[in-house]
Each structure stands twice: as C-alpha cells, then as structure tokens.
C-alpha cells in the first residue's frame, strides 16, 4: 500500500557529474520588493543567473535584506526523495503536479520541484540528468516553475498579460489572452503611438492595501517576425534580439532600447482588454461583465486554482483586480494595420464613454 501512495521522481544520478560537489554558494535576487535566495553549486547558480537576467530580477546583497522574508530555492544534483501523496495528481504543461493542501511537487522536463508549505519559505529542485532534460530550454523551464511557485508563496502572482498606459494616464491597461491573440501586436501599436509600457506578456500581480499592482517581470517582448514589419519596428535594429528558443517565427524585442522613456516598472491597472484577432475591417470594443472577466482570468491563471496553498489568496487577488477595473473585449480588425494611428484613439474613446 505504501508503494501505491508514493512515487519516486525520475532523476537517478547527480546532474552533470558523478561526484556531487558539497561546496554550495548562495545568491540573492529581488523583484518587486520580494527576494529569492538560490543555493547550489556555482555552475548551477550561473545557470540561474543567466536565466534571471532575462527578467527584472536584480542581484541583492544579503546584508541589505534585514527583516525581509526570503524564499530559499535549493538546487540539488542528488536523487530526489520519495514523496507520499494521497491524491493522484494532475497534468500540467511539460509535466505533472502532485498537490496537498500545503505543498506541491512538480515533475517538469524530468526534474523534480518540491514547493514546501508557505510558512517554510523553501523550494527544492532536483535537476534531471538526461541529455534532453539538460538542454538549456528544459532547465530554464524548470527554474521558471520553481521561481513562479516561490513568488506565489510571497503573494506575487505571475500573469501572462501585457500592460500599457495611455500618454497622460497614471493607471494601466492590461491586455489579457492566449498566445497569438494579438497582445504583443496591440501593445506595439499603442507604444508606437506614444503609450508607455510595463510589459507585452509577462507581469507580476501583487495584492496591496492600495489595490492590485502590476509589475514588469520579463525584460523583452516577443514578436512574430511579421509583426516587426507591420508595426514598423525594424527601424530599431538595436532592439531586435535573437530568435525565441523553441519558436522559429518569433524574435525577442527589447522595447526599452527602442523607447527608453516609455518604460514604467509598475502601475495600478484600471482597464482590462481581452484582445482577439477578427476578420472584419473595423476593430470592435465591447464591455465584458465582471463574472465573465474573472472566468477569463482564471483560465489564464491555472495556478490560481491548482496550487492549493496559495489558491484562496490568488483567486482573491484576481477578484480584486476585476473589482478595480473595467473590462472590454477588443476584436481587432484590419484597421489595426491599415490605420494604426486610429486605434489608440478608438480604445481611449470607447473605454472613457
């Protein structure tokens, strides 16, 4: 029976070496007033550093962290322990998740991530030793899962959405939808028309006494190559980065290099747009009821439901976001490209009606 309640994760030998090093270092990184502490051997800490450099994490000095809660992420090269669970678990993108009411264990790309109960402020990662799973893309994916889980335990919720601000606005507009719905293109059209930006697709949400704040998380945008032409972004060659790993049609775009004065690190959203690509000539903008808007956010944020230790606060944060915003669907027409300068005015006019 005990065997039925346990699983042993797939990593079997130390990652990258048959001689596990006992000398472990520590590095701290902060984002949006939260700090993560990584503990591992130097080669893995270098891997983490390279990964986090694509995001708005900044190295932090441990002496500056007095009285701040710090979440420890320890990365192991040893075999993971067995984890007993009563539940059968469920599939997630790139892996599987086992969850009880306090901790979750993720099997991602052959590696194992154990996220402890929130009070412990601790996540352990056992990296897989197989060649395929040691590919940078796979390892980055594992680190991202661990980082997101650690941040959730600090009340910071990763959110796939763009965020922009109208030229004179003090509050932000979120663009929410599946990959390919036109978030990045619409963000680019707005920025080209003088709007400021937080991100095209990757934010952190934080529930504060003043309201929900959106923080920039990823440093670069991702654009389909065709969107670079359609949005006339090729005139900023210094901002165009390498191809997105795993997606030959997309490239990185470092928007701050092209529009250095337009970046905003954080803002309080007041509008949510749900873009979709339509086939009609004219863009249509329609109000979305709060219940429908919250349901759409929940679809975009599966961890709000699946990470049981943080789910109540996560759901509450999304509900609070709905309460502080007005929501609209935007069915973009061909005018987005034919008359791009008319779109910002159309959006501003419609949401201010």
């Amino acid at each position: 029976m005990l065997e039925d309640l346990c699983f042993r994760a797939s990593a079997r030998t130390p990652w990258g070496s048959t001689e596990p090093s006992t000398s472990k270092g520590i590095r701290h990184y902060s984002v949006a007033d939260r700090t993560l502490c990584f503990q591992s051997v130097d080669e893995l800490l270098d891997l983490v550093h390279d990964f986090l450099s694509g995001y708005y994490f900044t190295p932090a000095n441990s002496s500056d962290l007095r009285n701040q809660p710090v979440h420890l992420i320890e990365i192991h090269r040893s075999e993971p322990p067995a984890f007993p669970f009563e539940n059968s678990g469920f599939a997630i993108e790139d892996g599987y998740c086992y969850s009880d009411h306090e901790q979750i264990v993720l099997l991602v790309n052959g590696s194992t991530i154990a996220v402890s109960a929130p009070a412990l402020n601790r996540t352990d990662v056992w990296l897989s030793d197989t060649t395929a799973n040691r590919h940078t893309l796979a390892l980055n994916n594992v680190i991202l899962y661990a980082v997101q889980a650690a941040l959730r335990r600090g009340g910071m919720y990763q959110f796939h959405a763009g965020c922009v601000l109208a030229p004179d606005a003090t509050r932000g507009m979120l663009l929410v939808g599946d990959s390919g719905c036109g978030k990045s293109t619409l963000t680019a059209v707005l920025i080209r028309n003088g709007w400021r930006f937080v991100s095209d697709d990757n934010l952190l949400l934080r529930d504060t006494p003043a309201g929900i704040l959106a923080w920039a998380l990823r440093r670069y945008f991702t654009f389909a190559k065709s969107a670079l032409d359609e949005c006339e972004l090729r005139q900023f060659p210094d901002a165009i980065g390498p191809r997105v790993p795993g997606d030959r049609d997309k490239v990185r775009f470092y928007a701050r290099r092209a529009f250095p004065e337009s970046f905003v690190e954080t803002c309080m959203p007041e509008v949510i747009l749900f873009p979709a690509i339509g086939t009609e000539p004219q863009t249509r903008i329609e109000p979305v009821k709060p219940g429908d808007a919250l349901a759409r956010l929940l679809r975009q944020c599966p961890w709000a439901i699946c990470d049981t230790a943080t789910a109540p606060d996560h759901v509450r944060a999304l509900a609070n976001l709905i309460k502080q915003t007005r929501s609209y669907s935007v069915i973009t027409g061909r005018d987005v490209f034919d008359e791009p300068f008319s779109i910002p005015g159309l959006i501003s006019q419609r949401i201010n009606d």
Partner: protein
C-alpha cells in the same frame, strides 16, 4: 415542516463581484462556476447561515417572485450545488 440550512464546503473559494454576480472555485476538482446575481444572493445567504425560508424571504424582497417560486428556485440551486459537492446540509 423542516427549514433546512446548508454550509459551503471548506475547499470552495467564493468571489463576490460588484454587479452581484460571482464565481465559485472548487480547489478539489480545480473547476470554477459562474453564478448570476440571484444565485449569488442565495450563496451569500448560505454563507451567512440563513435557512431556506429566510433565503426565500430575501429573494421575494429583492425580486418580484412569489414565496413558492423563491423556495423552488433556492431548492433547485441547493440540489445543483450539492451534486457538485460545493455545499452540505448543516448539522
């Protein structure tokens, strides 16, 4: 005649929205349910420990419905919520 009361199960997270609608998230099944204004009024009353007759009173005070219709509507919602393991009868 009994006047039943129900309680939400602890794995349910309810979000009350400003237009009266709401969303229930079931952390066990990882499903969520959208409730319209009248259903959310009933859910709020359940959270407050109201009995079926008290809920029917609230419905008749809020909407133009008879007491019989209000009781029938509340009982229908109770059955649907119980079937989905979102609430249980109070002990």
């Amino acid at each position: 005649m009994t006047d039943p009361t129900f309680v939400p199960l602890e794995h349910i997270v309810a979000s009350h929205l400003e237009d009266g609608d709401g969303v229930l998230v079931d952390l066990n099944t990882r499903q969520y349910y959208q409730l319209n204004e009248s259903a959310m009024l009933i859910w709020s009353a359940i959270e407050n420990g109201s009995s079926l007759s008290q809920i029917a009173d609230q419905l008749t005070a809020t909407y133009e419905v008879t007491n019989e219709r209000a009781i029938a509507s509340a009982e229908t919602l109770f059955r649907q919520l119980q079937k989905r393991k979102l609430l249980r009868p109070s002990e």
